[in-house]
């Protein structure tokens, strides 16, 4: 039984006179102590799914549950206990801090709002949290713009940790950081998962990072999950042609990637989520599409013990 579960979530947005289908029946489960990588190209709906998982948005249709309770019952505010247990780390750490507040006060804010501080201990608790994420407590009184991106991302993690969450949603947490800082933040997340048994939903377009840290992988394309399974299985033998193309598009060190004649290159780009193709939504770009793909919308089905894929031809 997963601690965080999203079932058959649908979500649409009105945008510039059209309707964007961000999620079109997506399910996702996350356990404590595991890292689930959520990958896909821009516009595939992964950020919307992350926001729903964090309780910042709710699906138009379908449900999100945390433990045994619905996360965001229709028309009601999310309850404080669930709210505390699911936290989010944003892509741009600078944007996630109120520019008018010191970093220390931002870290203390969730604690004060949840009455987890008793009088006078704010600074010591904040200092301890900062210390836990490898941040010098002396930076407590700085304003966000005075810290580097890596330092701020540590502060953001400290802020989330203060509430002692069960689950951490990370929306591209290292995308805005330099490569050498990236590993530091990833190691911090890995340690949280390992030592505190926190479940992490790791949303990223960087397949290299996901492949290195995730236990399971969920691949999205245009508002649907097209493939999911154990990290190793998905990347070593992808079953969906989109996943195959995705894996092949990652530049792999030397090995003369450009001379690799056998790799799958996708033509074109993901179609606009304003008008989703009929049948399999991947068929216009699919190198192996057959007639059936143009009419029948494939459902996500188990292909092997540790892989599900939504493709008529997967086996």
């Amino acid at each position: 039984m997963s601690v965080l579960a999203i079932e058959d979530a649908h979500r649409q947005f009105a945008s510039g006179g059209g309707i964007v289908t961000a999620l079109d029946g997506v399910s996702l489960a996350l356990d404590r102590g595991e890292i689930v990588g959520l990958v896909g190209e821009s516009g595939c709906g992964k950020s919307t799914l992350a926001r729903i998982a964090a309780g910042l948005d709710r699906p138009d249709d379908g449900k999100a549950t945390f433990g045994s309770r619905p996360m965001a019952p229709a028309g009601r505010q999310i309850d404080a206990d669930t709210r505390r247990r699911v936290q989010l780390v944003f892509q741009d750490p600078l944007a996630s801090f109120n520019p008018r507040r010191t970093v220390g006060r931002s870290i203390a804010l969730p604690l004060r709002l949840n009455r987890m501080l008793s009088g006078g201990q704010e600074r010591s608790v904040v200092a301890e949290l900062m210390d836990q994420v490898g941040l010098d407590p002396a930076l407590m009184d700085r304003k966000p713009h005075q810290l580097s991106g890596g330092q701020l991302q540590r502060a953001a993690i400290a802020r989330a940790l203060g509430l002692n969450p069960d689950v951490l949603i990370c929306d591209e947490p290292v995308a805005s950081l330099d490569v050498s800082v990236r590993a530091q933040i990833l190691n911090l997340l890995l340690a949280l998962c390992r030592d505190r048994n926190i479940g992490i939903l790791f949303v990223s377009h960087d397949l290299g990072v996901v492949r290195r840290i995730a236990d399971r992988v969920v691949v999205m394309y245009l508002g649907r999950v097209v493939e999911q399974g154990s990290n190793e299985a998905v990347w070593s033998a992808p079953r969906h042609p989109y996943t195959r193309a995705l894996a092949a598009s990652v530049p792999t060190g030397a090995a003369s990637w450009r001379l690799d004649q056998g790799r799958v290159r996708l033509a074109g780009e993901p179609p606009s989520p304003f008008d989703v193709p009929t049948g399999c939504r991947f068929h216009p770009r699919c190198p192996i599409a057959i007639d059936r793909c143009r009419q029948d919308d494939p459902v996500l089905r188990p292909i092997s013990q540790d892989i599900d894929a939504a493709c008529h031809l997967a086996e």
Binding site: E41, W235, T252
Partner: protein, 324 residues
């Protein structure tokens, strides 16, 4: 063909009394026809300043010394009029943000037309015909119709193709590309890299690729120069740089770049880290020493000279050694 010698760039300080910051600290680069040279480094390494200097796009307040020769002609200290005969005409440039480099209120065809007409004295119709053929050369389907589109009507990948077409419009011999695929999705990045490689192989342009991504560089470059704190610390062929890096910074970058392989050492195992932050350029010691696992007293006392290493060279006293 493009020859850079001892190029240094200093940005002016906020006031006259401030010394300003040294961005590039004496670098050499060589680039030939039909060759891809990748310049890699993190933000603050000076790679972008180098590129802007080559394109003549540095702000006036930036001071440059050294020499940049394009076909044996110096292009570093030209006036605006002379610059415009080099920019576009001899050197084409591609930027990171494909949307940003196109004017939102003009059709993409108009924006390529004007480059063609400026440099090649074609009339309006001939220019448009050339534009359409350029668009088709960069792999845009239905180029005549796309030429009438505005940038906002195109996807990120198409916009980058248009920007490449605009850079090629005046038939330059050198293309400078500044993180051309960083803003793009994985599958589109692969397409654009294919296109760039194809241009080099088929049309024999020289490509200088600036990127932070070692994997991208290794995938397309013939030679890779690694920049750190304003200096080139290693210069190698891609295979050797990845498999047998000479400079400890290159090694760290290679590990941080996370080649697309599974974590071999077990579930949730820690990744190799590079502690600390980049030092300022222009010191009297090895700038990497404070972060270097191999650093010895000598590294902290003097700037290591460039020594031959493998199929290239490295600026390190302990090149090729690994930490235990």
């Amino acid at each position: 063909m493009l020859k850079v010698r001892d190029l240094a760039i200093r940005f002016a300080g906020r006031s006259a009394s401030e010394a300003g910051t040294l961005a590039v600290d004496g670098i050499d680069l060589d680039l030939d026809r039909a060759q891809v040279l990748a310049l890699i480094g993190e933000s603050g390494s000076g790679k972008s300043a180098t590129m802007l200097a080559l394109a003549g796009l540095l702000p006036k307040s930036a001071k440059t010394t050294g020499s940049v020769l394009l076909d044996d002609r110096s292009i570093l200290h030209l006036d605006e009029r002379e610059k415009s005969t080099v920019r576009g005409r001899r050197i084409g440039m591609i930027f990171q943000d494909p949307g940003g480099s196109l004017n939102p209120v003009l059709t993409v065809g108009d924006q390529i037309d004007e480059v063609v007409r400026t440099h090649r004295r074609l009339d309006r119709r001939a220019a448009r015909a050339e534009t359409v053929s350029l668009l088709s050369r960069v792999g845009i389907g239905d180029p005549a119709a796309r030429a009438r589109a505005y940038p906002h009507q195109l996807s990120g990948g198409l916009k980058q193709r248009v920007a490449i077409a605009a850079a090629l419009a005046a038939q330059p011999t050198v293309i400078l590309a500044d993180e051309p695929t960083t803003a793009l999705d994985a599958t589109v990045q692969a397409q654009i890299l294919d296109l760039l490689v194809n241009l080099v192989q088929v049309e024999h342009v020289a490509l200088l690729l600036v990127t932070h991504d070692l994997a991208v560089a290794a995938a397309v470059a013939d030679r890779i120069a690694v920049m750190y704190a304003g200096k080139i610390v290693e210069r190698r062929g891609p295979e050797q740089l990845v498999t047998d890096p000479g400079h400890p910074y290159s090694r760290a970058l290679g590990q941080a770049a996370l080649p697309f392989v599974a974590a071999g050492d077990g579930r949730h195992a820690a990744l190799p880290e590079l502690p600390g932050r980049m030092a300022e350029a222009g010191g009297t010691a090895c700038a990497f020493a404070p972060r270097c696992p191999l650093a010895i007293d000598r590294c902290r006392a003097q700037v290591p000279p460039v020594v031959p290493f493998g199929d290239g060279e490295a600026a390190c006293f302990r090149a090729g050694e690994t930490a235990q």
